[in-house]
Point group: C2
Chain length 414, copies 2
Amino acid sequence: MGLLEICKNAKAAKYEVQKLMAEKKNKALIAVADRLIKEAEYIKSANDKDYENGVKNGMHKGMLDRLKLDDKRIEAMAEGLRVVASLEDPIGQEIEHFERPNGLFIKKVRVPLGVIGIIYESRPNVTADAFSLTFKSGNAAILKGGSDAINSNIAITKVIRDALCDEGICADAVQLIEDTDRSVTTQFMKMNDYVDVLIPRGSAGLIKAVVDNSTIPVIETGTGNCHIYVDKDADFEKAIPIIINAKTQRIGVCNAAESLVVHEAVKDEFLPLFAKAMKEHNVEIRSDAEAKSVLTDSKDATEEDFGKEFLDYIISVKTVKSVDEAIDHINRYNTGHSESIITENKEAAQKFLDMVDAACVYVNASTRFTDGFEFGFGAEIGISTQKLHARGPMGLKELTSYKYEILGEGQIRG
Amino acid sequence: MGLLEICKNAKAAKYEVQKLMAEKKNKALIAVADRLIKEAEYIKSANDKDYENGVKNGMHKGMLDRLKLDDKRIEAMAEGLRVVASLEDPIGQEIEHFERPNGLFIKKVRVPLGVIGIIYESRPNVTADAFSLTFKSGNAAILKGGSDAINSNIAITKVIRDALCDEGICADAVQLIEDTDRSVTTQFMKMNDYVDVLIPRGSAGLIKAVVDNSTIPVIETGTGNCHIYVDKDADFEKAIPIIINAKTQRIGVCNAAESLVVHEAVKDEFLPLFAKAMKEHNVEIRSDAEAKSVLTDSKDATEEDFGKEFLDYIISVKTVKSVDEAIDHINRYNTGHSESIITENKEAAQKFLDMVDAACVYVNASTRFTDGFEFGFGAEIGISTQKLHARGPMGLKELTSYKYEILGEGQIRG
């Protein structure tokens, strides 16, 4: 099917999906979950083709692993759908209401965004995931997955659409762009008349390409150059486990820490403890000149290192003279994701909270908590690093807009 | 000053502006208002240059009128600043808070967007207006006005900056791009590292150019192809004054009505009343074939007419068989701005409210109420016609974002 036809179908479908009551959506989500399990063999055989192509094309081992769908992963996709079915439906909620002196009654209600485009890379489970969140929030979705997972995505989308049909729901609530030609993706990003929002999910390169080329409003997600600042009044017994957790619990994620900022007053005492912990976890340290006086074995940090999301067993170290300098350094190099201060000093903590420009600012906790599940949203479509619309973890509510409903009795403007 | 330097200054200034307490901002806004009055001669003489250039370049009379600054208009600018000073400061407000089972305390607080770029056309009063709203909401602003008003804008910006300096506030809270070369505007739209949001204000052409070229998130404002739907159960005594008001009270504004949609069951009775009212207000009617059987004197409406924001004494008429067809027609041709149904039928009204895809949906009231002042916001930077971030009238709150502040006691993720 051509791109224009897909877009037109989605625009028609959004009016159907926005009308669906929570109960009907939940029943459909569970039906889709059941169907994914039932069709596991079909999905796995499609996935096998992608996997074989991946092997043939010399795909990196980590990527191959992310591509692979087995029974356990299909069960996890189904479970994700069931969780979304259990979440509260945000659509139709009244956000506020007020009456004007002329008698106009104005109600602000939550409505779907409309048509959401999602552009993502090779993990095929995103297909089910993105469907569940956009559907539950009353939106129609157009998915553009990576060409590496095209057979898996086609199979998963077919299973979802078949299940929707059986539930008497418009299958175009979710459509996949099957054409893997890059020019189609570029055209997709210009479909302003049909698509309300684009959400890229994947590497920094993918996100930048979407931001640079889309004329449709984009929600930028993902890149996280996160810092842990160890203040002069830090409790080291909190600092060390937090750094280990933020740096090493999962190295490839956007809320992992990439840099330690340390107050010079504690560097002599703290950095040896830090170095020991990093060594135990096989993390390479790249230090500035001041830190190097203590961390004599470490590599030199370059200017570039401070701006880098390593996503690897590497951490940079920057020494500062004050919390103000720490804030300046972080605001200069961060990506607006997650930042943490370790301190027992309330004044320093408050200044850090107030002045650091990021979606999530922590006091004495790991940056790894920036996550829709950890925040209690039940699910997430990604972490927004922009300030427009939504910031930080994006759950169902963040996939909605609002409208004003105004009730009058013949009022005209004077 | 070069564009990059302006952007860097703005990024530095945003950290200063976000810290300012409401009282200090309000005092500064009043000082700016006083200074504008005091410097009226200076501003008028700069404006004279623009006006003379306009005359020389054959500028349209309506445009020349919008360009002109006299004492009354300068007083109105100052009054606008005083009104904004009196409004509640949204910054620092707690939106919500919640505690997680692991003891993390999460607070969602309102913060400025950061650096807001505003690209606008020839009305120089927008300069003071845009400054007041962005400043009160804790943002730094970079303004790019039309070249036709460049001397006026330079003078107004200088007066504002001088007043800020005297108040001990960083003058870079507001900067004007003085270079009127188009390529500078295009570069400005790619300054993602410095500018958080772009808001275009002006014609449909300007807005489209910004949407098409900007890589910075844009809030689309303005274009309004607004409809009045007269249902079969309409009270004509409400319908006629509402249509007159929506169409003719101010023809050049985005919340003016451009099209009448009428139920066929009432066309014979209603359209003659409508035609009489339009004739009295010198409004040209362009009808579809069904309406033409009654409005025999009217012009034929073309397909193009239904998609047009006339901004003129012209109205199109479309006949429909049901409220559903009215909704379909509106959703096909509207710009997501403001739509109104005239009916005494609650079911039809509810369906219209639920299904029409627009920022503001009215029952028995004029579309002219879509306005920040009419909504009680005290002021507005524009009317958003997109669904991301803000929809409808945008006041101070719509110029903010939020951040999560998370307080822990050493929590790490398991």
